[in-house]
């Protein structure tokens, strides 16, 4: 049961990683990268390391996504100014 869940999550993570590379829209890529971190944190939790899972969920999928979004906003704003 548990190995099946982990393999399933891993397959979704790989798919999300390819999606993050091949999406045309940068916004969609950022969201896909956040999904990878969120699923990784679920895997850490299943494997019995709640400390790492908390770090991954809060930093990897929360803060990094937001910082990427802010950076994207700034880059777009800089372009439109020219």
């Amino acid at each position: 049961m548990i190995p099946g869940i982990i393999i399933g999550l891993g397959v979704i993570m790989i798919a999300a990683a390819f999606a993050a590379i091949y999406f045309k829209s940068l916004l969609a890529s950022i969201i896909a990268a956040g999904v990878i971190s969120l699923l990784a944190s679920v895997i850490y939790l299943i494997l019995g390391s709640p400390d790492v899972a908390m770090t991954e969920a809060s930093i990897g999928s929360g803060l990094t996504t937001v910082i990427f979004l802010f950076a994207l906003h700034r880059v777009r704003k800089g372009k439109s100014d020219d």
Partner: protein, 226 residues
């Protein structure tokens, strides 16, 4: 063409390197010597139920100090490079839904963050996780109130004070000859109490405050001043 061949070759090389990890994987039955020492030491010497915290704060305390320093340098770099020119205020305001929800949620998120870092030695989590949770509470505040101004000097004050106190605890350990960053400068207390495990909760609370204020200041610098 050559680029694709190189990419393919490097992928095959990586598979060849990591294949033994799957094929020759053996699950360990026992902890190795160092891990046994850490697990016994964290319970009998330091009185910390959460072994991860005792490793991060005490056995690998110098690494944690280094991590905190790296985070500090990253914050300084972001602040230096993105010194936002604060332009005129934006007219748009956040939606009513977000404003109402955040007025209830922000306080709860802050309390959760403080809980995570003060109970770092008892339950999973600790200074870094709690700090990030606090920063996300500030982020919600920032998103719901677009024209809010964060007081940078208070954040810098909290950050420098907690960093200074962290190093101060380390040096106190040297003065009392129990070792740099050793938690034994305070009494160990009862196993499992909130105020136990020596200076570990103090150190993790300081790390939590420092990480929280640093990440908040990164978020404010990057997103607040549009």
């Amino acid at each position: 063409m050559i680029k694709k061949v190189v990419v393919l070759l490097s992928i095959i090389g990586l598979i060849a390197i990591f294949m033994p990890m799957i094929t020759q994987f053996q699950e360990r039955e026992n902890l190795n010597e160092l891990a046994t020492d850490y697990v016994n030491g964290s319970i009998h010497e330091l009185g910390t139920p959460n072994v991860v915290t005792s490793v991060i704060v005490t056995y690998r305390g110098l690494d944690t100090l280094g991590e905190v320093t790296v985070l500090f340098l990253a914050t300084v770099g972001v602040g230096f490079l993105l010194k936002g020119k604060s332009e005129d205020k934006i007219e748009i305001s956040a939606s009513e839904l977000l404003e109402t929800t955040s007025s209830v949620l922000v306080a709860m998120i802050m309390v959760l963050g403080i809980y995570i870092f003060t109970h770092g030695h008892l339950t999973p989590g600790g200074g870094f996780q709690g700090g990030v949770v606090i920063a996300s509470g500030f982020l919600l505040m920032l998103l719901s109130n677009v024209n809010a101004k964060m007081n940078h000097s208070i954040m810098h004050f909290v950050e420098s004070l907690s960093g200074f106190a962290y190093v101060g605890i380390g040096v106190t350990g040297l003065v009392l000859t129990v070792g740099f960053l050793s938690p034994k400068i305070l009494p160990l207390g009862n196993f499992g109490d909130l105020f136990s495990a020596g200076a570990i909760p103090v150190i993790y609370s300081l790390v939590g405050l420092k990480v929280g204020s640093e990440l908040t200041s990164i978020l404010v610098t990057m997103g607040g001043e549009k």
